[in-house]
């Protein structure tokens, strides 16, 4: 599914950062706890040696390299953040892509608007929202439906499955639109009646 890419971005990034922190801190702990004096060094030594402190002042390339490294980290983190927050909404959908006579595009909100209007006219459905996402040629659909709590969810489901979604597929001329439907319930009608 199209959302799978964005679904994994957060977890993979967290795993990488977590491993870096754990391994780095683990190495410090290993030296502190005298795990291996020959490899890691003497635990009684100070954190920095005289040579390490003087190194930056003696070599002029250290600070520019640190600056460049920090910039790369900031840029990567920014890209990661953008990848996690991106919704990848589709705004225009090509219909009848015919290179010779030009292409016809359909506004995505016109298609989803027709879908939600149709769903809202269903007696058991109070509200609906829909967003097409992913690529314009093979979009996925995120659909939200708020059903009247006393309505039969089987009928609501049938309305979505056998009427609304086939109509959208027909309008967009697609055989398949991977859809995620979030079904909610509302009780406002009940209060009105009682």
């Amino acid at each position: 599914m199209l959302t799978r890419h964005t679904a994994r971005v957060s977890r993979i990034g967290l795993l990488i950062i977590g491993l870096i922190l754990l391994l780095g801190a683990g190495a410090v702990l290993a030296r502190s706890l005298k795990a291996s004096t020959t490899v890691l060094g003497n635990p009684h030594a100070a954190l920095l040696t005289q040579g390490q402190v003087q190194y930056a002042t003696k070599n002029s390339w250290v600070w520019p390299v640190v600056a460049a490294g920090s910039f790369v980290i900031a840029a990567l983190a920014l890209w990661w953040m953008a990848a996690q927050t991106r919704t990848r909404t589709v705004h225009r959908i090509p219909v009848e892509p015919d290179r010779l006579h030009g292409t016809t595009t359909l506004r995505a909100d016109a298609a989803t608007g027709a879908l939600t209007d149709e769903l809202k006219s269903h007696p058991g459905i109070r509200a609906s929202d829909a967003v097409l996402h992913g690529s314009a040629t093979t979009p996925g659909l995120r659909l939200g439906v708020t059903a009247e709590n006393r309505a039969d969810p089987g009928l609501v489901r049938a309305g979505v499955e056998t009427e609304a979604l086939p109509h959208l597929r027909g309008a967009l001329e697609l055989d398949k639109i991977p859809t995620v439907l979030r079904l909610q319930f509302s009780r406002a009608f009940d209060r009105h009646l009682t």
Partner: protein, 217 residues
């Protein structure tokens, strides 16, 4: 013979309590594919911890970049006195000090926590229910289902209040009544909730438990 046939028809319709028959069940829950797909879809994305960690990294990267660039140009923005920072680090702070151990342990713990957040699948945000179409994944958000079942239970005549708790594979309804003789009430609540769940057709079976309490007054 004809009468028998129509009689059988009649009972078949009545078996659904006069409600229209369910749409053909997709047999989705007997196949692992749709279940796995739904589980993957409604698994927590870990977007909030991801964005938080990314923001910390962006901030640290920008601050570090500005600091190192100004130091490279020979005009450090924050002139850290030698005695405050590098001094202690090369004289009084040692690898086996408690402070070093504490800081390293804290960092290791944060790293461990991030790994756990990344790897633990987490509770699905929605209960997946059967759909008749392989390209359609349907989920009922846990909170929404809890409220919906609570309203249904509270609408049963004789029930004052109903609260629902959702487990992984179970639904517990705690209902209160003011009736002196609540005979059969527990069963009606159970039937209402079970009927709703059957119509939703979750991809894994959900057990329903009803606890009825009598309220004086």
């Amino acid at each position: 013979m004809n009468e028998f046939a129509s009689g059988a028809d009649h009972t078949a319709v009545l078996a659904h309590d006069g409600k229209p028959p369910l749409p053909a069940r997709a047999d989705a829950w007997s196949r692992p594919g749709p279940r796995r797909q739904a589980r993957r879809e409604f698994r927590p994305r870990r977007r909030i911890p991801g964005v938080l960690v990314a923001a910390v990294l962006v901030a640290a990267g920008i601050v570090g970049c500005i600091w190192a660039a100004s130091a490279a140009l020979g005009q450090p923005l924050w002139n850290i006195p030698h005695s405050d920072f590098a001094g202690p680090l090369q004289s009084t702070v040692h690898w086996d000090d408690t402070g070093t151990l504490a800081v390293a342990s804290a960092v290791a713990f944060v790293g461990f926590l991030l790994i756990v957040i990344a790897l633990v699948p987490g509770r699905p945000r929605a209960i997946p229910v059967a759909s008749g179409d392989d390209s359609l994944v349907i989920g009922v958000p846990r909170r929404g289902l809890r409220r919906s079942l609570g309203w249904l239970a509270a609408d049963v005549a004789g029930i004052d209040e109903a609260k629902v708790r959702m487990g992984r594979h179970s639904v517990t309804v705690r209902a209160t009544t003011r009736l002196r003789d609540p005979a059969g009430l527990r069963e009606s609540v159970q039937a209402v909730v079970e009927d709703r769940l059957a119509r939703l057709d979750p991809l894994w079976p959900m057990r329903v438990k009803v606890r009825l309490r009598r309220k004086k007054g």
